[in-house]
């Protein structure tokens, strides 16, 4: 069950002992009873009506009944490195991390070096805020077992699956590498001053300005066939600094994405239609919602929160991520 519900409906589900993954505005989540749930703040959703901003309802992912055993954990910066070790063998884990928090930055940069990285399915999202209310309350995550609210911690639900089922994570990325310059960096991070353009050290802010680059298009790296985006956040021409929504990594070769025509058409084309019924959880990126004007437009029948970052084993950007649960044949 994946759709928007009122606070009272969600509280009823919690009282019934249902296991829930939730997304909604902070003032709504604060009204929930303790129970078997985790949540993150966000008011943007892909609902059955299409993309929407909704400050009155909570998006609910209810775990199927065949998932009997779960483990809910909170993580601090000092313990997030254990997240890939904490999942059930053959299970699935979902994590929510507040945007712009130290743990968000730490996870984004260091996750690929954590023990057991990507050895177990880990999906998740970065919680956020209403962009029209920035400067007010920041992004948070909620730990339902005791209604703990964290602005610099992660919450995770580790799920054990029956022996006859398996989970798999995949992504839908409408962007691919363009045929322009190869861009590399000499350190890992969310901000850079210099880049190597085809091997030549260059002031990256100047390069973007002088090349007339559309920063709505992300940088794209080819991860052994998976296209992984790094989205531009801001360019400070005074400081000569370029900020991203996800870290660039030293040694990875990036290219600016090829332009996309119509987002919804492209998205629908790339969505594996035979998988939609098996999708257990998915989320899409706020940048896709904004840049592609997704309000009121359906994206292949997929529903879920629209987030400040997506996690498919590691942090990705401008990407729809989804987890399917299927029976072994």
């Amino acid at each position: 069950m994946q759709r928007l519900y009122s606070v009272s409906d969600v509280n009823e589900m919690i009282k019934q002992g249902k296991k829930l993954i939730l997304a909604g505005e902070e003032n709504l989540l604060r009204q929930l009873e303790p129970g078997h749930w985790i949540a993150g703040t966000i008011p943007y959703f892909m609902s059955e009506k299409g993309g929407e901003l909704n400050s009155d309802k909570i998006f609910v992912n209810e775990l199927p009944r065949y998932i009997k055993k779960i483990r809910l954990n909170t993580y601090r910066e000092s313990s997030i490195s254990k997240i890939y070790q904490d999942g059930f063998p053959g299970g699935l884990s979902i994590v929510i991390i507040p945007a712009s928090s130290p743990i968000h930055l730490s996870f984004a940069i260091n996750a690929p070096n954590y023990d057991n990285f990507a050895m177990q399915p880990l999906i998740g999202w970065i919680s956020g805020i209403n962009l029209n209310q920035s400067g007010q309350s920041g992004a948070k995550v909620f730990f339902g077992e005791n209604n703990k609210i964290l602005d610099n911690g992660a919450v995770a639900m580790h799920m054990e699956l029956p022996q006859n089922k398996y989970a798999e994570i995949d992504i839908v990325n409408i962007f691919s590498q363009g045929d322009g310059d190869t861009i590399t960096f000499d350190s890992n991070g969310f901000s850079v001053k210099d880049a190597y353009i085809n091997g030549e050290k260059t002031d990256f802010a100047d390069y973007i300005k002088n090349s007339g680059i559309d920063t709505k298009l992300p940088l794209v790296a080819n991860y052994a066939g998976a296209m992984i985006n790094i989205s531009f956040q801001a360019i400070d021409e005074t400081e000569k600094r370029v900020d991203f929504y996800a870290p660039v990594f030293k040694g990875v070769e990036y290219k600016l994405a090829a332009p996309v025509g119509d987002y919804v058409t492209e998205f629908t084309r790339k969505m594996p239609t035979d998988d939609v019924d098996n999708i257990f959880f998915s989320c899409n990126c706020t940048l896709n919602y904004l840049y592609s004007e997704l309000e009121g437009k359906s994206t292949g029948g997929v529903t879920g929160p629209i987030t400040f970052g997506e996690i498919a084993y590691q942090l990705v950007n401008q990407t729809l991520v989804y987890a399917t649960i299927r029976d072994f044949e």
Binding site: F117, A118, Y166, E168, F249, A312
Partner: protein, 82 residues
């Protein structure tokens, strides 16, 4: 177990990209990409041993997942087994 029969050189060729297939399993793509990046910084014998262990470990944990099985078949098809 086919995974244990795969020659060390096949794992090495997969990590270096000499065996380069169109893989399906997202976890494999991400792990492989990370190993290839690590290889740029450390190509010592000890590092290779760890990279191979990581790759084998992923396949052992995921051996019942169809996309991982398909990718393993592609690797074996390119590199053979003992």
């Amino acid at each position: 177990m086919e995974i244990e029969k795969i020659r060390k050189q096949v794992w090495i060729d997969t990590i270096t990209g000499k065996i380069d297939c169109e893989f399906e399993f997202l976890a494999l793509k991400i792990v492989l990409s990370r190993l290839r990046l690590n290889l740029k910084h450390d190509s010592s014998t000890e590092a290779y041993r760890k990279y191979i262990d990581d790759l084998k470990s992923l396949f052992i944990r995921s051996q019942k997942i169809p996309s991982a099985q398909n990718d393993l078949k592609k690797i074996i098809g390119r590199g053979g087994i003992q």
